[in-house]
Symmetry: C2
Subunit: 707 residues, 2 copies
């Protein structure tokens, strides 16, 4: 197959993914929504989620408008090509669109999943999983669409409008322009993750603090005015936020690898490998979704096995197909790159297993953590924090091994650029199964919401048991998904850092500006950059956790007010004002996400102007290192606290209502912002920092204090 012909796989894969997503949407929407009460609740959640996204997109629209103007200005001063502002917009638009579609389907699937669970577990699984698969497929479909569009457009532009004859130079220009549209996706992802994360945890923590603790009513009780906000939060945080996060990693890994491939002198083939591998991943993911089947009354481990069959089946398929793909594109002498793919695939699955080991209550760490509740809240907090910290060791070693292996098998020992290309490709390998891993992940909050609806609509106990089984399974797959999200964020961030230095090298060659790289750790600007970068995830986590705290406080006040002022609410004769809680969370999320976003975007520019490009490289590396470790720590501590609480609730150590349970609830509440706000936001932070650095590379190069 000739090179440009094989590239057609990318848009083809994109269209297949979107078409299949459309088919799944139809299949989901054909299901019954259930009783009138279920429809009513589902509608309330849908309305709340739409209202939130509308508000978020309005606010974010303002940000995009301002950034667009800034980028236009930079372009008019010659710091950027005029494609960048537009690429920035499309990146943001498609990221937002995939979150929007995913969330629309998820909120429509909640009641349908609950309803399907009235007829059997497998039926419920199908609905929830199919809806999750929509999210996965839309993310990869739109991601590939955006990448393909820009590739074909820029290729046309640089061959027809402003011809660049030399292949190497033309492809360098193309990938350099494509890189910048990642910033749009990253910015949108940051808002989705931070805003969604603040929304969901403010509602969750607020609802729990005043409902469960003060008023003594159960979770998901319709008398709690924050209960709809809580359900909305699951959708805007865990579905839309997670989707935007991985959209960004996905796109980031493909475009950074393409740029690294061109820098390594592979020309068009360097671009073809990541793009067609992504396309192959789409097909493998679709095949994987068909493997997810379960008997009608399967137990939980059989359900897990069904989901695993899907993800492992897809991984295996990719492992086989990518061999031929790479051999065809790069030739047998570069087949080492194939092992970079494998190392990424394996590392992703291994990190997922680590996460599961540390956070599932079937293994000792979480069981022991539950045991620390015997001596109160303080010991379970200390236990969870140390569990989270301890759990960082293996993932660091796994990612380290993946980096070294993919670097050396790709020829890094003799050719530095080829080695870095391998690191980028290992990120693509890890993310190639995204269609299906995201499906098994996004399905969790849908099952969770279905349980809430079953509770609120007073469905029979067995329905709730089935949704609980699905939900609990969702926690395990979410752990794996989080492992993937963190691991891929780290590898993508590293690929982006490498792409950044290539970008600078290209600029120096083209403009002849006086600059020499000295990214040695001992170079003081690099070292100081490292320190600043290392501090950023801490600062960022502090701000997002404080935001959750403040917003939760607002919910507590509002719920207390409604309990006092709405007569008959506690007796069930009057209805709570759900919309006001949704509104409070929405406003808080919008307000609170500004400062963290500003820090993420301003840091590379300010550090660049003060410490120069070398300082920026230091900052990016410091943020990637500390951010990776922090993100694992927070995700695993949060997951373990959550499951330790569930373990106690399932009857161990005194069960529900015991002193141990109260201590575990404290742990879970601390873990909420850890695992669903601050931790995941760090993933975006480390990628966005690199993206901003790339877009502002030329500006910083020309306007920095140090060279």
């Amino acid at each position: 197959m000739s090179s440009l012909t094989s590239l057609i796989l990318a848009p083809a894969g994109s269209i297949i993914a979107l078409a299949f997503a459309g088919y799944l949407i139809r299949a989901v929407m054909k299901q019954e929504e259930g009783t009138e009460e279920m429809k009513k609740i589902s509608l309330a959640v849908r309305k709340g989620a739409s209202a939130y996204l509308r508000r978020q997109y309005t606010g974010v629209g303002g940000f995009f408008a301002v950034m667009f103007v800034i980028l236009l200005l930079l372009a008019s001063f010659g710091y950027l090509t005029f494609f960048v502002p537009f690429a920035f917009l499309t990146g943001g638009f498609f990221s937002g669109l995939s979150g929007f579609i995913g969330m629309k389907v998820a909120t429509s699937a909640n009641a349908r999943t609950a309803n399907a669970c009235r007829y059997g577990l497998n039926k419920g699984l199908r609905v929830a999983f199919n809806s999750g698969a929509v999210m996965g497929l839309v993310v990869v479909g739109l991601g590939l669409l955006d990448i393909s569009f820009w590739f074909y457009f820029l290729n046309w532009f640089y061959t027809s409008v402003q011809p660049i004859a030399a292949d190497a130079e033309r492809y360098a220009n193309i990938t350099s322009a494509m890189l910048t549209f990642g910033m749009g996706a990253s910015s949108m992802a940051l808002f989705a993750r931070v805003g969604g994360g603040i929304f969901t945890k403010a509602a969750d923590v607020g609802a729990d603090l005043v409902g469960k603790v003060e008023a003594g009513i159960p979770e998901d009780d319709p008398r709690n005015p924050a209960v709809i906000a809580d359900n909305v939060g699951d959708n805007v945080g865990d579905v839309a936020g997670m989707g935007a996060d991985l959209y960004e990693s996905y796109v980031g890994s493909i475009i950074s690898s393409s740029a690294l491939g061109v820098a390594a002198g592979l020309g068009l083939n360097g671009i073809i490998v990541p793009m067609t591998m992504a396309a192959v991943g789409v097909l493998a993911s679709i095949v994987g979704t068909f493997l997810v089947r379960s008997s009608e009354e399967a137990n939980q481990s059989a359900l897990l096995a069904a989901l695993r069959k899907g993800t492992y089946g897809s991984s295996l398929l990719i492992a086989i197909l990518s061999y031929f793909l790479i051999r065809n594109a790069l030739g047998p002498e570069r087949i080492g790159v194939y092992f970079a793919v494998l190392s990424g695939l394996i590392a992703g699955n291994m990190i997922g297993l680590c996460t599961e080991y540390f956070t599932s209550d079937t293994y000792t760490p979480t069981k022991n953590l539950a045991g620390t509740s015997e001596t109160g809240a303080a010991t379970i907090i200390i236990g969870g924090l140390s569990l989270g910290m301890l759990s960082t060791a293996l993932p660091v070693i796994i990612v380290g091994a993946a980096v070294l292996i993919s670097y050396f098998v790709s020829g890094g020992a003799s050719n530095f650029s080829a080695g870095l290309y391998g690191v980028g490709i290992s990120a693509v390998g890890m993310l190639s199964t995204l269609g299906i891993t995201l499906a098994t992940d996004a399905y969790g909050p849908i099952a969770d919401n279905a349980g809430g609806i079953a509770e609120m609509a007073h469905l029979p106990e067995e329905v709730r048991q089935r949704t609980d089984a699905l939900d609990s399974l969702g926690n395990t797959t979410a752990a794996t998904g989080k492992g993937f999200a963190i691991g891929s964020a780290a590898l993508t961030a590293l690929a982006l850092i490498a792409a950044y230095t290539d970008e600078i090298t290209g600029l120096v060659q083209r403009t002849g500006i006086n600059f020499t790289f000295n990214t040695s750790i001992l170079n003081p600007p690099v070292l100081v950059g490292l320190f600043i970068g290392g501090m950023l995830p801490f600062l960022f986590s502090a701000l997002t956790m404080q935001a959750v705290g403040r917003a939760a406080q607002g919910i507590v006040m509002e719920v207390r007010r409604q309990f006092k002022e709405i007569k008959g609410l506690m007796e069930g004769t009057a209805e709570a004002d759900y919309a006001s809680c949704v509104d409070i969370c929405t406003k808080a999320a919008q307000k609170e996400m500004v400062l963290p976003a500003l820090i993420a975007i301003a840091s590379p520019i300010v550090v660049g102007m003060l410490l120069g490009v070398n300082g920026v490289v230091g900052m990016l590396a410091g943020a990637a290192v500390c951010g990776f470790v922090m993100a694992i720590m927070m995700a695993n501590a949060g997951g373990a606290w959550d499951n330790a609480k569930k373990y106690i609730e399932s009857g161990h150590l005194g069960g529900k209502g015991s002193e141990q349970h109260k201590a575990a609830v404290v742990g879970d509440t601390v873990g909420d912002p850890f695992k669903d706000t601050s931790g995941p936001s760090i993933n975006i932070l480390i990628k966005l920092l690199s993206m901003v650095s790339i877009v502002f590379a030329n500006f910083v190069l020309n306007n920095s204090l140090f060279k």
Copy 2:
């Protein structure tokens, strides 16, 4: 003054410090110990502390013996000179000795301080402060003694026994050998900090959990069998541990700067500046102790002003004297180095102020934190963690600025080595006031213990009020002291990393081994090293926190047993078995400190053998960055929780016994291992990693997988 003559200042300063410490010991010991009951309690604490140190030194002795043999073996294979094993021993010996003397005086001063408080606040302050000053002066005195001894001995050896004619080469050999004795001090410090930290917090947390929470008896109640262990812990952890920590920073900064000075081509003058500056610091500290005076019934802010007069007075004196010293040693063309000293001095004080701002209940952060107790334990935990994370930003910027300033004022722009020398000198500048800053720090636990003795011996209420005033002041000065400890650890670690690369450069030149530095962040072994280094502080903290949890659990069991089995204990008619609790803590501390120590010592060797020297540099930088940020986070979160609890206890937000207070106690308990075990241990970790790397540099260079 000729160069070698001026160097006499160092041993002279050492002897003056030790002589003045002897004078202060006599002054303290002349005081009355008070009533029979006070004597009895004080004796129990003294015996417990001695028993602990004896056991610790026995265990550590075994470690030193093994390491001594390993180093001898390495020396016999030609990887080290034969001085190293012996230098290693003296470093450990003097570090242990300074901890031993400091603790001896502290445990003798407890009852005397309580007794002096019967006659007035200023009397109590004098006794406590003088005892703290002993610790400060012994640390700087013995540190300078060890350094001076090795300098004179090696200088004699390389001029008379095995003459090296060329000055540059001779001084390079001398400083290279001197560097290695830092590893002895570091190892001893690690054991003292980790072991002491586990001891003190296991006793504290265990005593609180079962005494305050379960049995409902007040703190320091003699019926609690863990109360003596708690008091012993303050001495072995906060006094001996802190002393060993700063001994190591002090010595490390002086010897690494000397090595950097020689590498920068400054010859003997490069050594003279740090050594004589340290000597001048001793004199300034002694002058400072005379400035600490207060009126007989001063309030707390007057007391603080008295202590501040001492530290600021010393700083000012050093700022003046070091100008002439540097001008004399390096000449007016290198006077820039003086500004490196200033930047270190100022940075140390600024970090101290930051720490105070974030942890003192006179400022908003801690007041707000206390407010989060209104919604329970979970919110105060989230609040404390985010406060700690937020508080890392300013210290990072301050240290970053200090690094850049000291680098550039010392001529880094044109001469890399001269710049790094500046960074080392700024660490020396920060630590030059150690004599007095350590005095104001070590005095805190003495006052704390005096309060405990006043309580146990049933002294009048006014005495307890006075000891409380001293204790509370101690918390503020301890915060400043911790800021110094962390800041100086970071700067010293950076100087040591630079010294490590110089050491490697020297080895490569001498042995002609095939190795080229590539410490670029983008070099995969460096990058992977960064990740591993970044993870180490997390792993280390996890292990030390878990150790505290386990040991506290043991205390809880033992106290419960005594409450049950010893008849009449709760009624006050029978006496508790204090020794058994001391014994449990001692054993636990000894057992639990092995694994963290092993990790700290093995990591540089294992990483070096796998990733090579470049990987080691990455690991050291990653550990320094993440460790610095984590140490601040943990110290400040812990300090803020502690003071938020005290703020509530002083009558705010419902006061003692309220729900808010209970929530604050949870926060304080979580903060205990944060601020007194894991956080401070990280300081040592990051320096010890560098020290081990230096000692094993030649071995790693010859036995690594990657070059």
